[in-house]
């Protein structure tokens, strides 16, 4: 019998091949895709997120762990749909218009996926209109904006205004992050949350998704 905690540990060590094999074996043994996801993959990414927050591990370790998770997820995805398991929520993410630096954004995406969220990655240089349109069409609960440059972070304010103009502010939360962004800036532009690291951003997004699901 496959120990699901073992899958979590393999994922934390970034062993993609071993994770894939262990997931396949657990499925063969009749373990539900949901259990493998929760107690194996997401449990592992949770631990990775905590260690990242505590400065014990850094970007490259998160990256290899996320790669291992993605390999395992590829096996689980069709089965999860069949089992009727829904994602913890849906968010869209991108670097704002004029900003091409996506390493931080990618890290946030991985952490969010590690929390069981469905993430629509809009890539880099994303216009406020695209953020808002995606949130409407794909029914996202959260818009996540990333900026590395002090010269582009102002665009985040445009995203907030575009969301207001589209009348979706009551059902979409806007999160902001990136090296020059601060809590004060977040408040100033009227966004809903600032996170100082990728793991905290993922926690916050889950919180928002739950809150909005309860509301509706």
């Amino acid at each position: 019998m496959t120990d699901l905690h073992e899958i979590s540990l393999l994922l934390q060590a970034g062993k993609a091949k071993a994770v894939t094999e262990a997931v396949a074996q657990a499925l063969d043994e009749g373990v539900s895709a949901y259990d493998i996801l929760e107690k194996g993959l997401l449990d592992g990414m949770n631990a990775v997120g905590e260690r990242f927050k505590n400065n014990e591990i850094f970007v490259p370790e998160v990256l290899v762990a996320a790669r291992a998770m993605n390999r395992g997820m590829a096996l689980l995805k069709p089965l999860l749909a069949a089992e009727g398991v829904e994602a913890a929520g849906r968010v869209c993410i991108g670097t704002v218009q004029g900003d091409l630096h996506d390493i931080g954004k990618n890290l946030v995406r991985m952490m969010m996926e590690g929390k069981g969220l469905e993430v629509i990655d809009l890539g880099t240089d994303v216009s406020p209109a695209t953020f808002v349109q995606t949130a409407i069409e794909q029914n996202c609960s959260v818009i996540c904006c990333s900026a590395l440059l002090t010269t582009t972070m102002g665009v985040m304010g445009d995203v907030v205004r575009a969301a207001e103009a589209a009348g979706i502010r009551d059902r979409v939360r806007i999160m902001v992050g990136g090296a020059p962004v601060t809590e004060a800036f977040c408040r100033q532009i009227g966004a809903d949350a600032y996170s100082c690291d990728a793991a905290s951003a993922a926690d916050k997004a889950v919180e928002f998704c739950r809150e909005l699901a309860d509301k509706h």
């Binding site: 400065n55 591990i57 490259p60 218009q97 091409l100 390493i103 440059l149 002090t150 010269t151 004060a184």
Partner: protein
């Protein structure tokens, strides 16, 4: 009217009367009292902390976090007294090789390098190439924002005029000082060559910089033109791209990069600029290293000022520190940071992946934090990955590189072996590294002494292939690979 008493490091005092409840920053900048605001008056970095007493606003959240009163946050409610810490003179490296002159005319010329952080100026006798006067100063724009992006933002938010006038004022003072050393009148230099990065030259000329602040980062001016610098004709050498400026063109010229079959030049600062010359072709790039190499963004980081740790070595298990001016250690500058991390890697206090395993103490009251280690990892990875990506673009391996010229802030304190230990440079290049100091200023001086070389630098800049790294897939890969110190 309430009054702020400012006590300077030399004991002199100045009184500033004010209305309302201004921030300390507003008062000091109006009085031209230099205080660094590295994060652009954003309340975020905690570096403008200073001693102030009496009638003040209650501490803000940012100030509680910084553990002191910040110039950009504290408001003065009544009479107050401010004591400025002694930062002392900056220790700036000049390029000391005597350049030969191709000119026979008498008179003096001025060469100036406008760095984002530091200004360096020299006066040369045109007929002999002799440097007769030198001056350096902190770029006064630093008080508004530490990096080029911050400057662009400040300029687009209506402060372009202040950025320009403060720079011109500092240059005027430096010119006066250098001419005094030379024993000539400040009117003696009849011509100038002014180099600097693309953004600095825009700001100097008062040209709009907004397009340089966001993708596609299009530079409307690449210079290669002569402008008027307060009555003196000043040649501004060509820039190669928005983030590969005339300073890089000048450094390429003066280092002799293009005399090799294959060689690299790296200017390691907040923006790591890299140039690769191979078989007649020049490739250039710039990579956002962040300010860690200049000691900024580091909890105990500082510039090359007295008390800054420049070298850290391990001798029989004991740490040995060298500081600027031999003063008691107060903080670390870029070279000291590289050394310190290298030593802590050796003593096992930092793991190969960069985790901090014990207290990173350099001296009583002076330690690095785990975040400092991470900041250096990101900085060195950006430069290392930039070099790898450029070499790959040109299809060159490190073994082909005949020479690596290192220019910029590290200067002569830079330890190649520490750079190898932390993974900034690969071990195989170690014996082919040459530290060239302020190669940009040397290039500007060459152009002054031999105007025919303007053709050379023009050709160089025209033919350069600029490789953009943000969003470059291979760069991201190399960057991730370069973050760890070594495989565990």
């Amino acid at each position: 009217m309430p009054r702020l008493t400012v006590v300077f490091p030399d004991g002199k005092t100045k009184y500033v009367d004010f209305d309302g409840n201004p921030r300390r920053f507003d008062l000091l900048s109006a009085q031209d009292i230099p205080v660094e605001h590295p994060c652009g008056v954003g309340g975020g970095c905690g570096k403008c902390r200073m001693e102030i007493e009496v009638h003040l606003s209650p501490p803000t959240a940012e100030e509680e976090r910084a553990g002191g009163r910040l110039s950009c946050r504290t408001r003065l409610l009544g009479d107050a007294r401010l004591v400025l810490g002694g930062s002392g003179e900056m220790d700036v490296e000049f390029y000391t090789r005597r350049l030969s002159s191709a000119r026979s005319d008498d008179g003096y010329g001025l060469a100036l390098d406008i760095g984002t952080t530091t200004l360096a100026l020299q006066i040369v006798r045109l007929s002999t190439g002799e440097v007769v006067g030198r001056a350096s100063d902190r770029n006064p724009q630093t008080t508004l924002a530490a990096d080029v992006m911050g400057r662009i933002r400040a300029a687009t938010e209506g402060q372009a005029q202040i950025l320009r006038s403060s720079l011109l004022a500092a240059v005027r003072d430096m010119k006066k000082e250098a001419c005094r050393q030379a024993g000539v009148s400040p009117a003696a230099p009849r011509e100038a060559v002014v180099t600097g990065n693309t953004v600095m030259l825009h700001l100097l000329c008062g040209r709009p910089v907004d397009a340089l602040g966001h993708a596609p980062f299009a530079a409307r001016w690449l210079f290669d033109e002569t402008v008027d610098l307060e009555g003196v004709p000043a040649y501004l050498p060509p820039c190669m791209d928005a983030f590969v400026g005339a300073d890089v063109s000048c450094a390429v010229l003066s280092s002799g990069l293009c005399r090799h079959r294959c060689a690299l030049l790296a200017d390691v600062g907040t923006n790591g600029e890299i140039a690769l010359f191979r078989n007649g072709k020049l490739y250039v790039t710039s990579t956002a290293a962040g300010p860690a190499f200049e000691g900024a963004g580091i909890s105990c980081g500082m510039n090359n000022v007295p008390g800054a740790v420049t070298r850290v070595t391990l001798s029989q298990g004991e740490l040995r520190l060298a500081t600027v001016g031999g003063a008691p250690p107060r903080g670390v500058c870029g070279s000291g940071l590289l050394d310190a991390i290298s030593v802590f890697l050796k003593t096992g206090l930092i793991s190969g992946s960069g985790a901090t395993l014990g207290p990173l103490t350099l001296a009583p009251g002076l330690s690095l934090t785990p975040q400092d280690v991470r900041a250096l990892q990101l900085a060195k990875a950006a430069v290392a990955a930039g070099m790898t990506t450029l070499l790959e673009t040109a299809g060159v391996g490190w073994e082909e590189v005949e020479r690596l010229y290192l220019a910029g802030g590290f200067g002569s304190h830079f330890s190649v072996s520490s750079a190898v230990d932390v993974g900034l440079l690969p071990a195989e290049i170690a014996d082919r590294v040459r530290v060239v100091g302020n190669a940009a200023l040397a290039g500007a001086t060459m152009l002054l002494l031999d105007p025919a070389r303007k053709d050379e630098i023009r050709r160089l800049a025209d033919s350069a292939v600029s490789v953009r790294l943000s969003g470059h897939p291979a760069f991201s890969e190399h960057y991730m690979d370069a973050i760890a110190f070594f495989e565990e």
